[in-house]
């Protein structure tokens, strides 16, 4: 019965959706996934659902320490040979043979905690015009400053310099637009002539593994970069957002990470314990009592991993297809977290489902339900961003 459910969600939606051919109407993301609710087999009332199954979080090597590209290919070939020697035909190893990500950009993405928002598609955004956008945004910030918008950021005496750049190598499919990184630098007030400018704000817009039906249904002239992350002064964040809204006719909105996504992250990160030591799996719940009670549940990583493997084993035993082995189903995630909760209940007689899951963190990263994410390990960036892109696409109103 579970197999039937999951395959229903993955059914191509076009069969049940009537498509109107007028130019002004565009298929909303909601209608793309309308199938499950009409067939009535899925629980819950929402028509839009997160993917109930996703590929396991295999490490994607997106930087190589050698700058010589031919060495990259050599490294990949070696590994492929090793796999066939072992007879693992279906070991889904994904190496990005495209340009590797600039290590500076990667370092910036990895060490910061980002506040997330969703963005509606941008109209007439060109990746070739980034220099023009940099100048326009600096001018906009300077103009707002003149109008008297309060700027508590250090260095407000001298100007801000904005830099737009493309982070190549992150886009996973051909449909994805390239990730754009925005950095705002300012000169400190008492700086010497040759002192480099300090980065006071950074942000990025990205789309990783976006839903292909939705992306193809966008009319020409729209670029979809639905996930926005920003870090720095709140004033600058709102200025950047308002500039984007004015220039590209888009809308920003806060993106919370709901408990399903947090559970996904907990499971996906635990899955990687053999490759990178988690050190702990920490989950923070808040129970709605007076005064509010916060429960921090920290599990030893090895034990968490064994629990996860035991949940997967049960499912893998029932699966016949090899192709399924690489993907993780939502039921496994739910059973994993349920196992942790029932162990807790056995001791404390407190049902954690009565509370809200607020935070999940490991050494691979931390995610908070208020919409803050920190990805501490570059190897798992692609899959984490895929999950978040999906959340952003689902939350978008159009």
């Amino acid at each position: 019965m579970e197999r039937l459910q999951s395959s229903v969600v993955r059914t191509p939606p076009n069969s049940t959706v009537v498509q109107r051919r007028s130019k002004s109407y565009r298929q909303s993301y909601r209608s793309c996934l309308g199938a499950p609710s009409r067939l009535g087999l899925t629980p819950g009332l929402t028509a839009r659902r997160l993917n109930s199954s996703r590929r396991a979080l295999k490490s994607h090597v997106i930087t190589v320490s050698h700058t010589n590209p031919s060495l990259t290919i050599f490294y990949v070939l070696l590994n492929l040979q090793r796999e066939t020697l072992n007879g693992h035909v279906f070991y889904p190893v994904l190496f990005l043979l495209k340009e590797k990500v600039n290590p500076e950009h990667l370092a910036l993405l990895v060490k910061t905690e980002w506040r997330l928002s969703y963005v509606t598609p941008l109209h007439q955004f060109r990746h070739t015009q980034l220099k023009r956008y940099s100048r326009q945004l600096s001018a906009f910030i300077a103009a707002e400053k003149q109008q008297g918008v309060a700027m508590e950021v250090e260095g407000s005496q001298s100007g801000f310099r904005v830099s737009f750049s493309v982070v190549q190598g992150l886009a996973a499919t051909d449909d994805d637009a390239e990730t754009v990184l925005i950095q705002i630098y300012s000169t400190p007030v008492f700086a010497r002539q040759d002192e480099p400018q300090k980065s006071v704000w950074s942000g990025w817009l990205t789309c990783i593994n976006g839903n292909p039906e939705y992306l193809e249904s966008l009319p020409k002239g729209f670029t979809c970069l639905p996930l926005f992350g920003g870090s720095g002064a709140e004033v600058l964040t709102s200025l950047v957002k308002s500039w984007f809204q004015r220039t590209f006719d888009c809308c920003f909105g806060p993106l919370e990470i709901n408990h399903t996504s947090l559970q996904w992250l907990a499971a996906l990160w635990t899955n990687c314990h053999t490759e990178s030591n988690l050190q702990h799996l920490k989950m923070i719940w808040t129970l709605p009592v007076v005064p509010p009670l916060q429960v921090t549940y920290t599990v030893n990583p090895q034990d968490a991993w064994e629990l996860w493997m035991s949940v997967r084993k049960d499912r893998l035993e029932r699966t016949e297809e090899e192709a399924e082995a690489g993907s993780i189903d939502i039921e496994e995630v739910v059973r994993f977290v349920q196992g942790l909760k029932s162990h807790f209940y056995r001791h404390f007689r407190l049902d954690l489902s009565a509370g809200n899951l607020n935070q999940v963190s490991t050494t691979l990263g931390s995610a908070k339900s208020s919409g803050k994410i920190k990805i501490s390990n570059s190897r798992y960036m692609i899959t984490t961003l895929t999950l978040l892109t999906e959340c952003a696409l689902l939350k978008m109103p159009i």
């Binding site: 921090t296 549940y297 629990l307």
Partner: protein, 345 residues
């Protein structure tokens, strides 16, 4: 007045909040009436500190006098440091005959035997508590007054509360305490918190006593805002019984303000839906920390609102029952309901 005394006074002045300055200085009583008049308490704290430094120079005060001021402040406001509870074990026959002067002399002499340079100040507070301030030095240096340890001991009880004690100095203090109080050993009571009043009340059960007999059910007429009479009628009995069980487990009225409790679990994973994990031999290790502005209040509310079931037998009720907030739970340790503390008298 030497440099260390000056630094100590500046530090104390920083810690005392502005509105408490006048009463604390009055209680200290080392300023003459004229000097007290000259202090204008509407000035900034920095200006007042300078003034006070000048006055102390005038009076030729030493470090000893300044530490009195610090002690007065800490006794009034003990809730700013982290307090750890210790318990004295195995009393000897004459434990009840220990009284204040004897304790003071014995403690001072024992501690001075163990460590040469140490500065001890003992004061008895109004509520039967003995406050001890210890500044530690070693064989080569004078006592460091900037990092003192405070010890609170209630005579006639086996409980001691300490703050800011390094692990190197703990055995020395323990030895001195054991010898001067006529017990044989001292152990860590696994209870810590910021509010001294809270952990003291919890340990010595000075809050509304919890007797594990039946708590009288609240009258059904208490709830006057009946929105739907039928629903309320159904739920009233359930709510009343939940409330009763919650109060039996945690107590009624004001509860000591504990902030956190930590449980280190090393038990086996047992779940009938997951055969693999249940068959596993090793323990499932995890650490659970409960935190709240008033932990016992939150737990009582969990029990009365139904989020926690069977509050009386769970690990959570061990907090008030045993007076601890750090637990290590293994498969071999007996369940919480089978152990109750002997009431101290």
């Amino acid at each position: 007045m030497d440099d260390s005394a000056r630094r100590l006074l500046q530090r104390i002045m920083r810690r005392i909040p502005a509105q408490m300055l006048k009463p604390t200085l009055d209680k200290w009583g080392r300023l003459t009436a004229a000097q007290r008049q000259s202090m204008d308490f509407t000035e900034s704290k920095w200006a007042l500190t300078e003034k006070l430094l000048a006055i102390c120079e005038e009076n030729e005060m030493t470090v000893k006098h300044i530490t009195e001021l610090e002690m007065i402040h800490v006794i009034e406001n003990p809730d700013h440091c982290m307090w750890y509870a210790l318990q004295l074990m195995d009393p000897e026959e004459d434990v009840h005959s220990v009284e204040l002067t004897q304790f003071k002399e014995q403690f001072k002499s024992h501690l001075r035997e163990l460590i040469r340079h140490v500065s001890i100040k003992i004061k008895k507070h109004t509520d039967e508590a003995v406050w001890i301030r210890i500044a530690w030095g070693d064989s080569f240096s004078r006592p460091n007054h900037l990092k003192p340890t405070y010890v609170v001991h209630h005579l006639q009880t086996p409980y001691v509360f300490v703050t800011s004690l390094t692990s190197k100095l703990k055995p020395l203090l323990s030895q001195a305490l054991v010898l001067s109080t006529r017990y044989q050993a001292i152990k860590d009571a696994s209870l810590s918190g910021r509010k001294l009043t809270a952990i003291r009340d919890l340990l010595m059960r000075q809050y509304q006593q919890v007797f594990p007999t039946k708590y009288p059910s609240p009258l059904a007429e208490n709830d006057q805002n009946a929105s739907n009479i039928l629903i309320n009628k159904e739920q009233a009995e359930l709510a009343a019984s939940r409330h009763q069980k919650a109060c039996e487990a945690f107590g009624d009225g004001m509860l000591p303000q504990l902030q956190s409790a930590v449980y280190k679990l090393e038990t086996k994973f047992r779940d009938h839906t997951n055969k693999t994990m249940t068959e596993r031999e090793e323990a499932f290790r995890c650490v659970v920390k409960f935190a709240s502005t008033n932990l016992l209040e939150s737990l009582r509310h969990c029990a009365s609102s139904g989020i926690a079931s069977t509050p009386g037998t769970s690990l959570l009720s061990s907090i008030p029952l045993k007076g601890r907030n750090y637990f290590v739970i293994t498969d071999n340790s007996p369940g919480p309901s089978s152990q109750t503390r002997q009431p101290s008298n």
